[in-house]
Symmetry: C2
Subunit: 265 residues, 2 copies
């Protein structure tokens, strides 16, 4: 990948995950990575594969994910955004493109990722939010969800909040922020951290939902955390409510264009 005359381009990508089997390429499934690779190959006339920052699950959305690829194409870096968007389906849109140092990769860079999980909480679903929010008619107590959320902030072993299918060596992670807010009938759980385990955000939300509807008292979340056992926590909340909304790098990005800092937050 460090071939003669190549340079590395970093894309900022937003997508509606509804129709996709997640980010990661699958030979027989429609994925975000697969669509971007297809658009790149059509543009370059050669096989190019991107490497993504966050491998979002099937059905999860993103306002700000990153992908890098190496190419000999000489077009101005920012023009890749226009050229790829002409070739991508309308539920995937490159937001920015810029050149980065050849060795640079978003996954090697310390970062804070922020996810938002939206819950429509009223008697009947909102048809205008059916693709981007989870619906429940069970009346949720936001104050109790906020109380429960406080136990999860900081560095903890999140084994109870991780799919048993994880391949992670350590299940210790740092949640830098976790808030639960309400605006009219939409409850938004916003969670930030330096890294998340497989399904961690959705299991946290699934557990907060159990607290919100009164099945668990808020302090139960502390016990679940200490149990280090996936069987103790709530179900994995549905993917459609989840969006990766911000991805902020904590280090200077070498030779990176301003774009990488301008979209998050």
């Amino acid at each position: 990948m460090t071939g003669e005359g190549k340079r590395r381009i970093c894309l900022t990508v937003a997508y509606d995950g509804t129709r996709y089997n997640g980010w990661q390429y699958q030979p027989n499934g429609r994925t975000i990575e697969g669509e971007i690779n297809g658009a790149l190959c059509a543009l370059a006339g050669e096989d190019i594969g991107v490497s993504g920052a966050s491998r979002t699950d099937a059905g999860v959305h993103a306002r700000c994910n990153y992908a890098v690829f190496d190419t000999k194409m000489r077009m101005p870096a920012d023009k890749f955004a226009y050229a790829l968007n002409q070739r991508l389906p309308e539920d995937i849109r490159v937001q920015k493109a810029g050149e980065v140092a050849m060795g640079w990769h978003p996954r090697k860079c310390r970062s804070i990722k922020t996810y938002e999980y939206r819950i429509v909480n009223r008697e009947f679903p909102d048809p205008l939010d059916r693709l981007y929010a989870h619906f429940t008619y069970l009346q949720l107590d936001v104050q109790k969800m906020q109380e429960a959320a406080r136990f999860l902030v900081g560095e903890h072993d999140f084994k109870s909040f991780c799919s048993i299918h994880t391949e992670a060596e350590s299940t210790v992670r740092t949640v830098t922020g976790l808030s639960v807010g309400q605006r009219e009938s939409v409850i938004t759980v916003r969670i930030s951290g330096t890294g998340f385990l497989y399904n961690m955000v959705r299991i946290i939300v699934g557990t907060l939902l159990e607290v919100g509807c009164g099945k668990y008292p808020p302090q139960r979340v502390k016990e679940i955390l200490e149990a280090c056992d996936r069987k103790e926590s709530g179900p994995t909340a549905p993917a459609r409510g989840l969006t990766l909304v911000s991805y902020r790098f904590l280090e200077d990005v070498p030779e990176v264009c301003a774009c990488l800092k301008s979209l998050d937050g």
Copy 2:
């Protein structure tokens, strides 16, 4: 329709208009009215047709539209919401159902309707808003749009802002409120009035877009209004950005359940 033992039920309906040829029934097109009639017939086992309040155009969305129908079915009025939602596609949802007086019809009742038109104004489209907002990369001057909007508030002859295909006898209407706001890259035009002409909101927005991108000065809107000529105003803005967000009755609704007042605003 005033048959023995019948009563009148009023539904509050929300829908994503993307897949539909508008509200009004068409024998060969998919419409909101057609879907609700289909669900009602499946429920009642007989032909029942609803009569709607606002006949929204193809592609236009609603958070709060009304429809009434007469039936001999004896189920508690509020249960019609559950029963119909089980039979409707997920992009149409009854929000409330209640019994009203037999002669009552939402179109015969003085009301204030409010529409919101959302515009995504940035370099590239937001894939998560592609169904519910119009996109333009032309940088819009919100202050100029606000200046132009002021000329349209009040009672005026809106002939310049009405499709030539109108069947209205008079083109005089009252706009009770018209605001243009911005939050991050989303500009929202919010317009309220006692009644609107065919395509009036979308032509107003199309004209404000011409002002926003600098093609017309704000005061041009006053001249357009005075010209009473559709050829003077801007293009009809695309349907996808438009949502009927509130529908408020100005008179007491006889025997109507509280629902009719609780959803708007």
